[in-house]
């Protein structure tokens, strides 16, 4: 059923009784051409692009719970492509381009809002790093602007430019960055993939990956075995466990990243702002809640909950950046489990097991990557080789020393 304003009106006049499920709830078949493990944004996008771009529609997406409730439903909804390394910004830029046409493509309003993403800096060194990054983006055709202190003040008057412990020197702005409605992304991809014949199978947990002679043959699930010659992992936070089912140890650790939302208030923050002197970023949802977050709790965990020290850090950084937020109230706190890699960049690649692919290791970058990750993962699965956009995002780069270390933090996942 196609969504439109007219449909909304006619349905309203008939008591909204004619709406049908956004996606089917099929029984799993015994075999598929491709099985995608993980019904989050990345898995659903992979399935969608397999169908749309490569004509591969005999695809199942297996999700252990309901779709979209892992990190897709737990992030701070930011989209941007303002990365330093060409391997990263070119990939994220492709993802951003997909975001820009996503709603029309999916016929689902994911509320992609290109309201601008501003990264503040507070020192000469940080300014130079921001300039290097912004110039690298511009050379590759990606929008970036350098704001000085007064331009920052004008752009977002709530920012305390002068008086804090670390006065603001300026910021790197990407106007095309912004936010998207995270739940709607999963639902929109699910609906569009379903419409192209993909089976989205919820409450179907993978308990084993069958490997014969170095090649995958299928999966064991709580709803029985399913055969498939090609399997894609899109299980952020749990990649280590799933990869181990196929006998692989991967260079990754699982860490929790917390996020917060305030009580709803009238429009206050019209952009996405990140605070360079403390781990902090903020935007305001269309519902009015200020959505914000910061750094990792910093120790391995699979639990989707965080603890007070990070709450204190993040909230203090928020007040340091915008002192007028002080009297607002935090409404909810939650955590998502990140696949943290050893260089802070993702893996979209074939694996040493033939027929097994993964889009993984997304660290903090997963949500914004959703369409791009699905697109590149689908390509890699369909062609059994990476697209040039994800050619560098291999599993082997750690062994080869061809690292994609955006910030130079070294092989410490909790610092990435």
């Amino acid at each position: 059923m196609r969504y439109s304003g007219l449909r909304l009106l006619t349905q309203a006049l008939t008591g909204n009784r004619g709406w049908t499920p956004a996606w089917r709830d099929p029984q799993p078949k015994r075999a598929y051409d491709v099985v995608i493990i993980g019904g989050g944004g990345h898995g659903l996008a992979t399935a969608y692009y397999l169908a749309k771009e490569h004509g591969i529609t005999n695809v199942a997406v297996l999700e252990k719970g309901p779709i979209g409730l892992g990190n897709t439903g737990r992030n701070t909804t930011i989209v941007r492509s303002n990365y330093l390394l060409p391997e990263n910004h070119n990939f994220y830029e492709w993802s951003l381009k997909l975001w820009e046409g996503l709603e029309q493509d999916l016929n689902y309003n994911a509320m992609v809002s290109q309201r601008g993403v501003l990264n503040l800096f507070h020192s000469d060194g940080a300014r130079n790093a921001a300039a290097r990054r912004g110039n690298a983006m511009r050379l590759d055709g990606i929008d970036a602007e350098l704001l000085d202190k007064e331009q920052v003040r004008a752009y977002c008057p709530l920012i305390d430019v002068d008086n804090g412990r670390f006065p603001v020197m300026g910021g790197l702005l990407q106007q095309r960055g912004g936010t998207a409605r995270h739940d709607a992304v999963a639902w929109g991809f699910a609906r569009a993939a379903d419409a192209r014949g993909v089976d989205i199978i919820q409450h179907c947990e993978v308990t084993g990956i069958d490997v014969e002679g170095g090649r995958v043959t299928g999966v064991q699930t709580t709803r029985g075995p399913i055969r498939a010659g090609r399997i894609g992992l899109a299980v952020a936070g749990n990649t280590s466990r799933l990869a181990q089912m196929a006998g692989l140890d991967v260079p990754m650790e699982s860490h929790v990243l917390q996020a917060f939302v305030s009580e709803s208030v009238k429009p206050l923050v019209d952009q996405v702002i990140t605070f360079g002197a403390g781990h902090f970023y903020i935007s305001q949802s269309d519902k009015g809640g200020l959505v914000f977050g910061g750094g990792l709790d910093g120790w391995n965990t699979y639990a989707q909950r965080g603890n007070l020290p990070v709450v204190e850090h993040v909230w203090a950084a928020g007040i340091a950046m915008m002192p007028s937020l002080s009297r607002l109230r935090g409404l909810r706190q939650w955590g998502g489990v990140m696949d943290m890699t050893f260089d802070g960049s993702p893996i979209i690649a074939r694996t040493p097991v033939a027929g097994l692919y993964m889009t993984a290791g997304w660290c903090y970058g997963g949500f914004k990557a959703t369409p791009g990750s699905g697109w590149c993962h689908a390509w890699t699965i369909a062609k059994d080789e990476p697209h040039r956009l994800n050619a560098a995002h291999t599993l082997e780069r750690f062994r080869d020393g061809r690292l994609l270390d955006e910030r130079g933090n070294g092989p410490f996942p909790w610092l990435q």
């Binding site: 280590s240 466990r241 140890d249 990754m252 650790e253 120790w299 391995n300 050893f342 750690f398 092989p411």
Partner: protein, 91 residues
């Protein structure tokens, strides 16, 4: 908040410590092959369950402690000096 019962200082908040990751990997000897160093630096079991890990009591006694902690419940089962051999609980 994770509370770690430092064998020297007593129970302390996690903020006194700096996490240093998996404590089951050991630095290979100088003549070990490159793969051994690769595994030491990059290969992790990353278990969902009991994890043996280093916590540096940076704001306390400056000791690297071996902590046996569960990565779902966050229960801490054992905290020991660096050279102690610890058992990983079976479940």
């Amino acid at each position: 908040m994770i509370r770690i019962d430092c064998p020297y200082c007593g129970p302390r908040d996690e903020v006194e410590f700096a996490y240093r990751g998996d404590a089951t990997v050991r630095r290979p000897s100088a003549d070990a092959p490159a793969d051994a160093f690769y595994d030491y630096v990059y290969t992790r079991r990353n278990p969902r369950g009991w994890h043996v890990e280093w916590w540096h009591h940076a704001a306390g006694c400056r000791q690297f402690l071996k902590v046996v902690r569960h990565t779902m419940t966050h229960e801490v089962r054992q905290v020991a000096p660096a050279t102690t051999v610890v058992d990983v609980p079976s479940e």
